[in-house]
């Protein structure tokens, strides 16, 4: 049976572990920052001198760290895109806007071990020559914002922040910025607009790649809370050591949030890819409730395409001779990592599993998610603004006894016409994927619901009791 591997949450749940700086320092806190600041410049054989920041950036690239917010993009690569020649200031923003339904991992870090994230953030800022950085925390985390402000003050008092940090000559200031209830602020360009004091309308790319034209049209890095914590550990143990954790191309650990119909919902930190979906459900989260069967799993936050129980996938695997061999894998046997889930047509996204057993009304479940997306569409692009609302209205109707048998196809037609370059940001995809996958994989249930409602109406009956 696989075990949890607690790297980031190593101390968070220990009895007596508190979010204050003294406790953090007793547990080796800010040692990685000291180490980072003390890295000596290295002279290459060709005479080129590589400073500490660049060495850290190289190490992060070597570590293979992929972003923990949702897209799973290489952190080292993201940093390498930063325009360092523009002469403009470089900003770093910690994305603490944890809003993807199903996800509750950053909450644990922010509330229980804020200094770990701050240390990772200071190191990341140092590595990228950032002098001013922000933590964008969602408005619904007022306690989290207070904890962070307290922690930043403590760090300032100990000179981990501010002018001439620990005598290194490096200056950095970090401020907390609160959101106000809009999911779209988790999208990095929307977040940047919001931080500029505007509506969180995502920006079009090109030209507004944050690494070149981000906050105040300056080069900007946006990294997730958990990603920044990982940076601290990369500096602490070295990128090569970090890369040994997890599986190739899916390195390090990941905090997986498991919710829904399991006996022990919660967050479980694993080496990436070292546990399967089935193990996460059955071994970590205690399995399904008594007498229940699995119906569906959303594997990476609500935007990820749903998996149906019993679904099989053909995955390519390297054989002993180095050649690709195709292997049939049951959904439950998929290793929980970035690449396997992508190969299976979904994604590990924000690392959140939502488990649904056979008591779930699949139409109502999708109606719930679609209502979320209709509420959260920023309204900038017509296909997304209108489409998300149409889908939600149709599903609301279906969930309340007013379905039609053609609704399944109607929903698919709308969902197919939102994503694929028709919208500025990936919200178009995010609102369509649940509809495409739920209706696509459980089509018989959607059609049956519509037919039953039609038959009932034809017989002159009013709404059924479930509405």
């Amino acid at each position: 049976m696989p075990q949890e591997f607690r790297l980031i949450l190593k101390y968070a749940d220990e009895p007596g572990y508190t979010p204050d700086i003294e406790c953090y320092l007793r547990h080796g806190g800010y040692e990685s920052l000291r180490k980072a600041l003390a890295i000596a410049p290295k002279t290459l054989p060709d005479g080129k001198v590589v400073g500490a920041p660049e060495q850290i950036r190289d190490d992060v690239k070597l570590s293979g760290l992929r972003g923990r917010g949702g897209a799973g993009f290489s952190c080292g690569l993201k940093w390498s895109f930063v325009d360092r020649r523009s002469g403009k200031p470089i900003y770093l923003i910690c994305n603490a806007d944890e809003s993807e339904p199903g996800t509750f991992k950053d909450r644990q870090i922010l509330h229980k071990d804020p200094h770990q994230m701050i240390e990772g953030m200071i190191i990341s800022c140092f590595a990228n020559d950032v002098k001013l950085a922000y933590i964008y925390i969602r408005g619904e985390f007022p306690e989290g914002a207070r904890i962070l402000n307290r922690a930043l003050n403590e760090a300032r008092a100990k000179n981990f922040l501010g002018k001439n940090i620990l005598g290194s000559g490096y200056d950095l200031e970090i401020h907390v910025h609160r959101g106000a209830g809009a999911y779209i602020c988790g999208e990095e360009t929307g977040l940047i607009e919001s931080l500029e004091g505007k509506r969180a309308y995502p920006r079009i790319k090109p030209p507004y790649f944050p690494a070149i034209l981000g906050l105040y049209q300056c080069p900007t890095i946006v990294n997730n809370v958990e990603t920044l914590c990982a940076v601290k550990h990369i500096v602490g143990m070295g990128g090569a050591e970090f890369a040994k954790l997890g599986t190739p191309n899916n390195t390090g650990t990941r905090i997986v949030s498991v919710s829904g119909h399991v006996r022990k919902p919660g967050y479980y930190e694993i080496e990436v890819g070292k546990a399967t979906i089935g193990q996460l459900i059955n071994d970590f989260a205690g399995g399904l409730r008594e007498g229940r069967k699995l119906k569906a799993v959303i594997p990476g936050g609500s935007s990820a395409k749903v998996f149906k129980a019993g679904e099989k996938f053909k995955l390519k695997k390297k054989g002993p001779d180095g050649k690709d061999i195709e292997q049939e894998v049951d959904m439950l046997d998929l290793p929980y990592d970035f690449d396997s889930l992508m190969a299976a047509g979904s994604m590990s996204g924000s690392g959140a599993l939502i488990i649904m057993d056979d008591s779930t009304d699949i139409v109502a479940a999708l109606a719930n998610l679609s209502e979320f997306y209709a509420h959260e569409s920023c309204g900038q692009c017509t296909p997304c603004r209108e489409g998300s609302l149409w889908m939600s209205k149709a599903l609301h109707r279906m969930a309340h006894g007013e379905g039609r048998k053609q609704d399944a196809d109607y929903l698919l037609k709308i969902a197919d016409n939102i994503p694929g370059g028709r919208t500025i940001c990936a919200f178009g995809e995010a609102c369509s994927w649940p509809v495409q996958s739920f209706v696509g994989k459980f089509k018989d249930e959607f059609v049956a619901r519509g037919e039953a409602d039609e038959a009932r109406r034809a017989a002159g009956a009013t709404r059924p009791s479930h509405s």
């Binding site: 944890e98 809003s99 993807e100 339904p101 199903g102 996800t103 509750f104 950053d106 909450r107 001013l132 969602r138 408005g139 619904e140 985390f141 007022p142 306690e143 401020h175 910025h177 609160r178 959101g179 106000a180 209830g181 809009a182 999911y183 919001s194 931080l195 500029e196 004091g197 505007k198 509506r199 969180a200 105040y216 949030s257 498991v258 919710s259 829904g260 119909h261 919902p265 919660g266 967050y267 959303i298 609500s302 959140a352 939502i354 649904m356 779930t360 109502a364 479940a365 719930n368 998610l369 209502e371 979320f372 509420h375 959260e376 920023c378």
Partner: protein
């Protein structure tokens, strides 16, 4: 009477503005501070903030209408937010929301924030509060509550003076 803010709030706002290289960035944080003090964002408050940040009132008003947490009318003394989204729904949040509404004499099917006639409570069914593992969850003012049963909800409401 002209809109004015007390000295401590004014000082807080000045401090917030100093956190950013561009004043406009402070608008969300100032809206939070103003709403915390007055309970809602009035038209006068919008105009005052805009003037303070050298913006047009529309630049502030469009934030109030965009971001769900800002209110354009006063709310009840205690604001209850029950999470509506999938994991909480699977864990019974509709029953919880229905229970809270029924107890307070509110309509569980109404959209948006609704307030009791005596102005003591406002209830809102909100989107994911990011604690899906302890569903159903709710907030009462700034306090966060997990795995809320009907009995626990009664207790939380009962403690609101």
């Amino acid at each position: 009477m002209a809109f004015s803010v007390p000295a401590n709030l004014e000082a807080e706002i000045t401090e917030l503005i100093s956190h950013y290289p561009q004043k406009r960035s402070a608008s969300l944080m100032i809206l939070h501070a103003v709403q915390e003090h007055f309970g809602w964002i009035s038209q006068e408050a919008v105009e005052w903030i805009a003037a303070r940040l050298e913006l047009q009132p529309i630049n502030v008003y469009e934030l109030v209408t965009f971001y769900p947490m800002f209110r354009r009318e006063p709310a009840g003394k205690h604001v209850v937010k029950v999470c509506r989204t999938l994991s909480c729904a699977l864990g019974g949040s509709h029953e919880l929301h229905g229970h809270v509404c029924q107890k307070l004499g509110l309509d569980a099917h109404a959209h948006g924030l609704q307030t009791t006639a005596d102005g003591k409570f406002s209830v809102e069914f909100v989107e994911c509060l990011a604690s899906c593992g302890t569903a159903p969850v709710m907030m009462c003012n700034e306090d966060f509550h997990q795995a809320v049963t009907a009995a626990k909800a009664d207790e939380i409401l009962g403690k609101c003076a």
